[in-house]
C-alpha cells in the first residue's frame, strides 16, 4: 500500500491544499472563466459587491452565468430559479462521490458542510485525483485549503474582469464578454464524452437560439428540459437496440 502524505497539523494540511491550488492547471481556467463572468456582471448592470458575493455563495460558473444573464435581462425570477436549480443538480452526485473520501469515524457532519459547499467541477476533479494520496485525518483541511483558494482566485479575477470591462474600449470589452460563451461551450463539449451529452449540447444550442428568437416565454427551460429529455430518450432507445423481449 502506498504511503499517504501526512501533515503535522490541520493548518499545515490546509496550506498544502492552498499550495496545490496555486500550482494546479485549474488556476488559469478559473481565472479566465471569472474574468468573463465579471465582465458579464458589469455588462448586465450588477455591482462588484454583488458579483463577489455571488461567487462566494453560489460558487458554480454555470449557475452564475444563468443567474447574471437571467436577472440582468429581466427574465421571470421563477424561470431563473428553475434554470439555476436544474444546472445545480449535477452537484448532488458530485458531493455524494466526494464525501466518502473525506469522512473518517471521527468526522462530524458539520465538518463536511464547508467541503460540500465548495463542491464545484474544478475542485471536484482535483479532489478526487489528489485526496486518495493524502492521510485520512488531513483530508478535510487539505480540501478546504484547495477549494477556498480556488474560490479566492475566482472572486479576485471576477473583479479584474468587472473593472476591465468598465474601462476598456468597446471592442476589447466585447472580447471579455465573449470569454463566457466560448469557454463554456468548449469546456462542456470537452466533458461531453457520451452520445447523450453531445446530443444534449447540440439540442440545447439550437433550442436556446430558436426559442429565444421566437420569443417564447421560459425559452431557456424549454430548450433545456426539452432538449435534455429528447437527448436522454434517444440515447436510451439506442442503448438497448437488441432488447426485443420487453
Amino acid at each position: 500500500m502506498p504511503v499517504l502524505k501526512s501533515y503535522p497539523s490541520s493548518s499545515a494540511a490546509y496550506l498544502g491544499g492552498v499550495r496545490h491550488a496555486l500550482t494546479s492547471v485549474f488556476f488559469p481556467v478559473i481565472a479566465g472563466t471569472y474574468i468573463g463572468i465579471g465582465a458579464l456582471a458589469h455588462d448586465f448592470g450588477l455591482s462588484a459587491l454583488w458579483l463577489t458575493l455571488s461567487t462566494l455563495f453560489v460558487w458554480a460558473g454555470p449557475a452564475q452565468v444563468i443567474l447574471i444573464s437571467g436577472i440582468g435581462a429581466g427574465a421571470a425570477l421563477v424561470e431563473v430559479a428553475i434554470a439555476v436549480t436544474l444546472s445545480g443538480i449535477r452537484l448532488f452526485p458530485m458531493v455524494m462521490a466526494l464525501l466518502p473520501l473525506l469522512r473518517t469515524r471521527e468526522t462530524r457532519t458539520s465538518d463536511l458542510i464547508l467541503p460540500a459547499h465548495f463542491t464545484a467541477v474544478s475542485m471536484w476533479i482535483e479532489s478526487l485525483r489528489v485526496l486518495p494520496g493524502i492521510a485520512h485525518e488531513n483530508r478535510v483541511a487539505y480540501c478546504n485549503g484547495l477549494s477556498s483558494t480556488y474560490t479566492g482566485i475566482a472572486a479576485t479575477f471576477g473583479l479584474v474582469g468587472f473593472y476591465l470591462a468598465a474601462g476598456l474600449p468597446s471592442l476589447f470589452a466585447a472580447a471579455l464578454l465573449f470569454i463566457t460563451p466560448i469557454s463554456f461551450l468548449i469546456s462542456t463539449a470537452r466533458s461531453a464524452v457520451t452520445m447523450l451529452d453531445r446530443l444534449a449540447l447540440g439540442l440545447g444550442l439550437v433550442g436556446g437560439a430558436a426559442f429565444a428568437a421566437m420569443q417564447i416565454e421560459f425559452d431557456l427551460l424549454w430548450a433545456g428540459v426539452g432538449g435534455g429529455t429528447i437527448a436522454y430518450l434517444v440515447s436510451r432507445i439506442r442503448r438497448k437496440p437488441a432488447r426485443a423481449d420487453i
Binding site: V29, G32, W50, L53, S54, F57, Q64, V65, I66, S69, G70, G72, L77, A81, V84, T85, L86, S87, G88, I89, R90, L91, F92, P93, V95, M96, L99, H117, T119, L171, A173, A174, A175, L177, F178, T180, I182, S183, F184, L185, I186, S187, T188, A189, R190, L199, G204, L205, G207, G208, A209, A212, L220, A223, G224, G226, G228, T229, A231, S235
Partner: protein
C-alpha cells in the same frame, strides 16, 4: 424593503438557495447514488442542454459591447474557435484564443 437590497435578496433566493440545495441533499443522503442511474443521466442531459441554451443566447442575442460586433462575426468566432479546439489536440485554451482572435479581427474589420 430598500430597493438597494433587492439584488442581494434575488441573489440569495434565486441564485444561492436553488443551487446550494443540491449540495445539502448530497450531504444528507448517506448512501451513494449510482452515477449511471437513469435520473442522474437525465439531469445531466438537462443541465448540459440548459447551459448550451445560455451559450447560444449569449452569442445570438448578445448585449452591451458584444452586441456591437456583427452577428455573423460572433457566430463565425464561435464556429472557428470550436473547430480549433477540435483540431488542436482538443485544447480548450487553443479554442478560446482562436475564437477570441477571430472575434477581435472580425470586430475590427467589420465594424458597423
Amino acid at each position: 424593503m430598500s430597493a438597494d437590497l433587492w439584488p442581494y435578496v434575488v441573489l440569495m433566493l434565486v441564485g444561492f438557495l436553488p443551487n446550494e440545495a443540491w449540495r445539502l441533499v448530497g450531504l444528507v443522503l448517506a448512501r451513494g447514488l449510482n452515477e449511471q442511474s437513469e435520473i442522474v443521466l437525465w439531469s445531466r442531459a438537462v443541465a448540459t442542454a440548459i447551459l448550451a441554451g445560455v451559450v447560444a443566447k449569449l452569442v445570438v442575442f448578445a448585449s452591451g459591447s458584444l452586441a456591437t460586433i456583427p452577428l455573423g462575426v460572433r457566430i463565425g468566432a464561435v464556429v472557428i474557435g470550436f473547430a480549433a479546439f477540435l483540431l488542436i489536440r482538443r485544447s480548450p485554451l487553443a479554442g478560446v484564443l482562436v475564437g477570441e482572435a477571430v472575434l477581435l479581427a472580425g470586430g475590427y474589420f467589420f465594424a458597423p
